[in-house]
Symmetry: C2
Subunit: 500 residues, 2 copies
């Protein structure tokens, strides 16, 4: 059996290598590739994905799994090997249930939908995108049916991004969360607007870059095992446990954008850099789920990076780099500025108090589409009425409404909820972290992050993808995913800032 | 048969994609990879190479070739398809003759030899490297035997880098060349030394970078289909016909180094960018051979970049960028400075008049080792005595002698000759180019390169790897590789510069 396990690991190691090769090619595509390289790059990525898929879904892997699954039952349940067999069995089952005919159709339809969405968004013509989105929805409904029986048609989609998570659980969580978020937002909206005009003056790119680097270096980002570059859309990617890349961007209209983008991606990267080296070259050398990954990025970005303790330490440094821009801005003013709440049309620009509402709106539409209760043609209208209900504002056109996100044209239904779940998880972990390290705020205000990072590594990072997210969150915090800590966090923070 | 050809091309396209994926990963490894990424990167590259090799040497490709070879005879001999089948048949035959046992041994031995060489070079201890090099030589002799019957044991090695080229031909060429180069060098050595002290003062990196970019842009480098970065050792690589990357480096002690490195790699890149798009995703989208590739880089570097016509146009620009450094340097002085001849110990720093002598020395040693007439332990002594004979100088230690090059520890016997052959080919093409474009010098002195590049593209670049080098050189110049044009070029140039 040892020999079979070795063979199993060898095949998986090659699949991991191929995926890492794709990651390198994908990183370069977004960071350095000249325009002309697109066609060749498409070929490279398609071939690598096809070979990796074929290798992973081979009969050989299937046969090995049949023999290894009973063997896994004899192992220590939390051991690397037992978890490896269990998690791979889950993914193997999912990938082999989908016929290659569907995969080909889906690739074709989403490629066309991407182009149609770009055109629709540019010209504000939802009707250009509509027939393509209808095709995508049809295929996604078909996809779900490969996983019958299910409790809910949305379950198999959610499971792609959040293994083990059920629609009913997410709905329960969001239903508890929604009224509280809407209520908080109404209270804030009644208060005087915060002045953050000092964030909307020019800040040098180099200064922003240097400050961001200084911050994540202090957090513990290991530059021997990672680097930062610029790209249009910030992202984190990994070419192995010892080479984790992040990117950032500079928005001339929003000075804090690059900093919080660096911190956010740095949070993802600290997770990847903290994965145990014993998981190297296995599929377990990855985040537990999208939500858990997002919990790490959001925690560093919001609980740390938008906290008063953080700026107590870093604000003098920022003023040193930008003396003119911040000449008449106190630390308190700066802190309030970066925490300003303002209902906005665009999800990616949303603040902590409104972000989840954008997500819930999207998930409700996705579920409606999948259940067949919502028709694609009605999306713009429903979108706008939900925006009015949750955020109190209505987009002037579909570009700033239903057409804003790239996810649907790629068929990524089930992805959005993980953003909000990540926020909730970040607060659960944050509460536990502060219980275990009572003087954490003091440490942060002294620029000390080693105990915090050590805690995260030992409780979360090192396990990689060994456990499903609900299981992991329960191990760490004593509870599965729940909205209460996040609401406590938001209420405490904004009560102080807005004098609620 | 059409269908079989399509299948054949499909497999080759996937092999090409895998090789391009390796190229991306290899580029990043040398350009941006953080130190910690080495282990993961090694795994990625090893897996990609193994899969590409397995795919290329599969029985399926063998069977298709058996059917396609007779079919190729019915096609127009110069057609893309006929050339594809012929060139792939050659490579398939070579790759399938080598048993995987040997490949594994070779990988193991050269990995150890690399480390030993580094240690030997650092500590100036040839004896540390000696047993490893003995192993490498043994394996390389064994390798040659897989290709029996051969005319000369060195033939199969040479063929790896210069397909179709025979040892007897190279020896004939070098034997004609050697005395003339030695004689020219003696004449130059008798003349007063040229003052190039202005090259050994600090020049800003940014200025060097900008000037190099300006030069190759004028040559016709397409930045939509390529880019330049920095690396320890400059190189050119391609991720497809529309994404060609070059690198350069800055040597604080040698100001012209970055410029000529950019021009040299730019020459390689212009070749790759000029390959016909009809060869995309085939193994023919590559240089004809190492020598032909080198002929392009050396032509732009030396015939163009070290010519008076070139500097007539560019020197005023250089002075604009570096007004202090060149305040008291005339264009004539600068031209003489960058063409200064000086026998030196290190090949990569050698000038045009001495470079080939370094190569001939190495090839004689390689042939001696392969024939069994030279023992590894005697290399340092033979090296030093040949240096004395050809260049009139003797290295003070083995670091600057027999241990200087990386090639042997990797087992790359047969590679060196292509550098010198490239120089010879560059001069053959240069003569023909000047016959066909009689006012080429005028054009260059006006910064015009489009007619020259157009000529190179139509006569050489677009064909990619369709023809073997001797065949291609004959098609372009009317003669196979011959040393006379190069000697004419050197004599004319240095007679003028040194008043010979």
């Amino acid at each position: 059996m040892e020999q079979k396990l070795e063979k199993f690991k060898q095949i998986l190691a090659e699949v991991v290598d191929l995926n890492h090769a794709s990651a390198v090619a994908g990183w370069d595509q977004q960071v350095y590739m000249p325009r002309g390289g697109a066609v060749d790059r498409g070929n490279i990525l398609e071939t690598l994905a096809a070979i990796a898929h074929k290798k992973f879904t081979s009969d050989e892997v299937g046969k090995l799994l049949e023999e290894l699954k009973p063997y896994a039952e004899t192992l220590e349940p939390d051991s690397d090997d037992a978890c490896l067999i269990k998690r791979v069995a889950h993914d193997y089952d999912k990938e082999t249930r989908v016929p290659s005919r569907w995969v080909a159709d889906f690739a074709r339809v989403t490629t066309l939908a991407q182009t149609a969405w770009e055109e629709a968004k540019t010209d504000n013509k939802f009707e250009v995108f509509q027939p393509h989105l209808e095709e995508v929805v049809k295929l996604r409904r078909e996809y779900a049916d490969f996983f019958k029986p299910y409790d809910h048609i949305y379950d198999p989609l959610l499971d792609d991004f959040e293994p083990g998570m059920k629609t009913v659980d997410v709905e329960r969580i969001f239903n508890a969360l929604r009224p509280q978020q809407v209520d908080l937002l109404k209270k804030i909206a009644a208060k005087p607007e915060i002045d953050d005009s000092f964030l909307h003056v020019p800040y040098s790119e180099q200064g922003q870059w240097d400050f961001g680097v200084e911050v994540i270096t202090r957090f513990g980002f290991d530059w021997n095992r990672g680097r930062q570059d610029k790209s249009m859309h910030p992202f984190t990617t990994s070419f192995g446990v010892d080479d984790v890349r992040i990117t950032t961007r500079f928005d001339p209209k929003r000075a804090a954008s690059a900093l919080f983008s660096t911190i956010h991606e740095g949070g993802h990267a600290l997770y990847e850099q903290g994965i145990s080296p014993t998981l190297r070259r296995t599929p377990l050398a990855d985040g537990a789920s999208m939500a858990v990954h997002e919990s790490q990025s959001r925690m560093w970005e919001n609980m740390v990076g938008r906290s008063k303790a953080f700026w107590k330490f870093f604000y003098p440094r920022l003023v040193e780099i930008f003396p003119q821009q911040l000449a008449n801005v106190s630390m308190e003013q700066y802190y309030r500025g970066i925490n300003k709440v303002e209902p906005s049309l665009i999800r990616v620009e949303a603040d902590e108090a409104t972000y989840n509402l954008h997500i819930m709106l999207r998930m409700e539409l996705e579920i409606g589409l999948m259940e067949g209760k919502i028709q694609v043609k009605d999306l713009p209208e429903i979108w706008n009425s939900k925006m009015k209900e949750y955020l109190g504002i209505v987009p002037p056109d579909n570009r700033e409404g239903v057409l804003q996100d790239v996810h649907w044209c790629g068929g990524a239904f089930g992805y959005f909820p993980t953003y909000a779940l990540g926020n909730l998880v970040s607060a659960q972990i944050w509460e536990k972290l502060n219980q275990d390290i009572p003087n954490l705020e003091d440490q942060i205000s002294q620029g000390k992050f080693d105990e915090m990072l050590g805690w995260l590594r030992s409780k979360i990072h090192r396990f990689g993808k060994k456990f499903e997210s609900q299981d992991l969150v329960k191990r760490v915090t004593g509870s599965t995913i729940t909205p209460e800590p996040y609401m406590r966090y938001l209420k405490t923070k904004y009560t102080e800032i807005y004098n609620l």
